[in-house]
Point group: C2
Chain length 189, copies 2
């Protein structure tokens, strides 16, 4: 994610993905104080490879967040084929909120380090937004979502729920009950 101008060569991309996967595992184990050396060991690559892709720990954290967002976007293509278009939209919305909750520690660490996460994840966020829009429009065409629902409102509500999920741990059952109320606002009356 650190080289945006042109696609990484396949082996470089594979290395990059391996580093990100290892970094996530090390972070889960060591928390946000995880060392770059521990990530290199877990990924089975040299420390130089890590620093080539991610010059700083903050860049690595951003890379993880962006990768997760791209994964979410990828998952939307399957949902775009689902029979129940409304349910598919709700599942995607929930997955994004859920992801924000899981990224909580990372987001806090980056905020504490004064890193503007938005800049490093802008591309991934744009892709996510497009995926949401696609699912919303499909559900609206099928009559599963209210026709007057506009994307800015959806995004504002999604951002609010993500902030809430980042703010404090949310039990899945409580999150589902809360989203259920919101989703009823999304349905046609």
């Amino acid at each position: 994610m650190s080289e945006k101008s042109r696609p990484l060569r396949t082996d470089a991309r594979r290395n990059c993905e391996r580093v990100l996967a290892a970094a996530e595992a090390v972070l889960a184990r060591d928390g946000t104080t995880a060392s770059m050396r521990a990530v290199a060991e877990a990924a089975g690559v040299g420390l130089g490879t890590i620093y080539r892709h991610f010059p700083t720990r903050e860049a690595l954290f951003e890379g993880i967040m962006a990768a997760r967002m791209f994964q979410l976007t990828d998952s939307s293509s399957e949902l775009a084929e689902a029979a129940d278009a409304g349910e598919a939209f709700f599942r995607f919305f929930t997955a994004v909120v859920d992801n924000a909750g899981r990224m909580r520690a990372l987001a806090e660490a980056l905020a504490d380090a004064g890193v503007d996460v938005k800049a490093g994840t802008a591309e991934a966020a744009a892709a996510l937004r497009t995926a949401l829009e696609t699912l919303q429009e499909r559900a609206q065409r099928r009559g599963d979502l209210r026709p007057d629902l506009r994307l800015p409102e959806t995004l504002a509500l999604l951002a609010a729920m993500c902030l809430a999920a980042e703010h404090r741990r949310w039990e899945p059952a409580a999150r589902d009950r809360t989203l259920a109320v919101l989703f009823d606002g999304f349905r046609p009356r």
Copy 2:
């Protein structure tokens, strides 16, 4: 707000309120770098009086936030008499979100200073919660809100919208459109 154990004597309370009102005006003018001396001058009281009520700038900021929350709670008693109980509930919900937006700079300053705002505003928050509950129950009895709406979900949604309002400036029109979608989820179907 700094002396919780028993009610302040009337003159002390009046001084306290005068300090808070002055502090708000000075904050609006000078931002969160406002000095205690400037607040004392604006309130027309000695610096000692300020420090007696609010030992630190952070305590003063917390005092302002708590006072605003108490004011909001006070406003709910009028709403509890309104003919349209559902509309009264929505107006109160909107006022709380709106207040969070206006407190944004203060909340940020306190977070930067590492102050746990929750502790200093716990009493005010509890009063606000009770006011919301009262308005919700009334609207539910009148059939203006869905009967299965529970307070934890309302509070989670309120917290999410407040976080969003604190997170970035929200144009009133955009805020209203967004809340309108959410409020439809609150209505009986």
